[in-house]
């Protein structure tokens, strides 16, 4: 379970048997071609895979450099790549014979996907979500609850994603007998980083074949946003053996040196540590306690990073950049206007960096961006990010209407 010095299993002894059982089951699934076939078929029939690749002709022309293509994970059922992992783990949960799933969620995308999978697979479902996130992400909570999941607001720590993970761990150490922990990103103890990456590798497999079919060649560069790292690992894996530059785009927040960011590798603020079950680069202080992080995109606002990515970065196999909140706002506006796409704020970090670099590339060069999700169901987040006054007036009017209804 190590990639260079990163990875491992750092969990309470009580979970040792559970993690071994999971690891064994994962190995069996991985070596059983019928498992992958079942997974692919379910993704096709339930989630609409393969997702297409769209040529951004307008954006490319506007920038005057490389031709930009986008892998459309936003078109998945539930609106992001999260469903790939979740359906995969759902199938695995069935093999484990467990009847209940738990998951953490930050922005709510992974919780939304997990609740969906649980409804589809007939599993009990509890979602842990920081109380701060519950308060600001009510739309996703609403859908999760309507799909039958119990959403628990976590009151510890920063009351955000990392605290939700801790709380999910506490549930797991209590209920591991009937409960599978559907970790949302490619982090945490082995085999999660590898397992989540494996389920997400469907993105890269498709993308490689599609690029060859649509453009007759491979892209020169691939940009993917990196929170935990699952969507980036998903698409990068399709191109590890190729001469393709891979670029991970982290949350630059208010910029380098501001401390209000979540860039583990692009900036110099992170160091190697052990938390949440694994060893990787964390944004932590000299005492080994985790820092508060910040991003305009809740889904990137995480202290750690996938250990495989950390190892690839160390070997110069993946280049890391960070996009600031401001760059993300501008990239989102440009993408909506020129292409009619609404990338999630997370995804927009990848767009921002591709937009920055495309003009200096040749017109015959090709960029591929992984559009990990769509933002159209996260209107509060986007409207607030863009500081839209008409939206705020609308909410005030709605509130007054609801107030009146009650009287």
């Amino acid at each position: 379970g190590y990639y260079g010095q990163y990875g491992g299993v750092f969990l309470p002894e009580i979970l040792q048997a559970t993690v071994n059982e999971l690891l064994e089951c994962f190995r069996q699934c991985k070596s059983d071609p019928t498992f992958w076939a079942e997974f692919v078929e379910l993704m096709q029939n339930y989630s609409g895979r393969p997702t297409p690749i769209t040529h951004m002709a307008n954006l490319s022309a506007h920038l005057g450099g490389a031709q930009i293509y986008v892998k459309r994970e936003d078109l998945n059922h539930t609106g992001s790549h999260k469903i790939n992992n979740v359906i995969g783990q759902g199938l695995l949960c069935k093999r484990l014979g467990k009847s209940r799933v738990i998951a953490e969620t930050g922005a709510g995308q992974h919780g939304f996907a997990t609740a969906t999978m649980a409804a589809k697979f007939g599993l009990d479902c509890t979602i842990y979500m920081g109380a701060v996130d519950v308060a600001r992400q009510r739309p996703n909570v609403f859908w999760m609850e309507n799909m039958g999941a119990q959403v628990v607001a976590v009151q510890d720590g920063q009351k955000t994603l990392k605290d939700a993970i801790n709380e999910a761990m506490r549930d797991w150490v209590t209920n591991m007998a009937d409960t599978h922990y559907v970790l949302g990103t490619a982090c945490g103890p082995h085999p999660f980083p590898e397992m989540v990456s494996w389920f997400q590798s469907i993105v890269g497999q498709e993308a490689r074949a599609q690029m060859l079919e649509q453009t007759g060649r491979l892209p020169d560069r691939i940009y993917a946003c990196v929170g935990g790292g699952s969507n980036a690992m998903g698409i990068f894996q399709g191109f590890f053996d190729d001469d393709v530059e891979l670029i991970g785009c982290e949350a630059g927040g208010h910029g380098a040196g501001s401390s209000l960011h979540a860039a583990r590798l692009a900036y110099n603020d992170a160091s190697v540590g052990i938390a949440q079950g694994f060893k990787t680069y964390f944004l932590q202080n000299d005492q080994g306690n985790m820092n508060e992080t910040h991003s305009i995109a809740a889904g990137l606002d995480y202290i750690g990073i996938n250990p495989i990515l950390a190892y690839l970065w160390e070997q110069d196999k993946v280049r890391f950049l960070a996009a600031t909140d401001d760059e993300v706002r501008e990239a989102l506006k440009l993408t909506m206007r020129t292409e009619g796409l609404i990338p999630a704020l997370e995804t927009t970090h990848a767009f921002a960096k591709a937009i920055e670099e495309a003009p200096s590339m040749g017109k015959d060069e090709i960029i591929l961006i992984n559009q990990s999700g769509r933002a159209d169901k996260d209107i509060f987040t986007v409207a607030e990010a863009l500081d839209d006054n008409k939206w705020k007036e609308f909410i005030k009017t709605k509130a007054a209407q609801y107030q009146q209804e009650r009287q």
Partner: protein, 256 residues
Amino acid sequence: MGLQSYIEQRKADKSLLVMAHVVCGYPSFEANMAELEIMAEAGVDLVELQFPFSEPSADGPLFVRANEMSLQNGTTVNDCFEFMAAVTARFPFKVLMMGYYNTVFKLGEEQFLRRLKAAGGVGYILPDLPIEEAGSLHALSAELGLEPIILMTPTNSDERLAQLAAAARGFVYVVARKGVTGSKTQMGDDVAALVARCRAHTDLPLGVGFGISDRSDMEYLRGHADMAIVGTAALRAWEQGGAEQLRQFFSDLVAA
């Protein structure tokens, strides 16, 4: 004298030892010292000093909050070692560091162990460090005469218990049930059976923890285990009624 011998010696006079727990810097080091006074008066045999960590994922709600508040108060690793030195100088009970592995890793394993030893600690409990990841730390500890406390749990197979036993030093921390610290455990055949399974794999003293909260638990453990490990229940007593209630708590607990 090693921890195992210390425990065996104490056991000569007492049918069941007690290990207590304090979260360093919560609510303050002064309060910690007052708590430890009471514990010493009550004849507590061993104390875990928890070094606060930002992600205490093996802890229950009361300790989670205690970790959080202590860090908010500005508690550093250095503060904790200094406090430990003061404690070991003042009290007769032995002291263990308890915490999460990142605190150790960040300081450096060797540096951590040297400071622990300098502060008078005899060992450590790191619940998120499995034996597979503990090779270098355990080796260094052996060199320095510090003892890693290993946890045995109800989900471990016999094979695993044997592996754990091989790594264990001082005593074995038997986790009475699944879950995190702080919830009540129903003492009964399950606990007895678990202790018996652990006993089959090790000659080290056995301490039983997780949910030990009153005299009846103590009575149940007597004869099964060598030591009761009391954490959350003591902190709850302190939070609810300060020194007086904590004193009452231990006096009830250890009354023969």
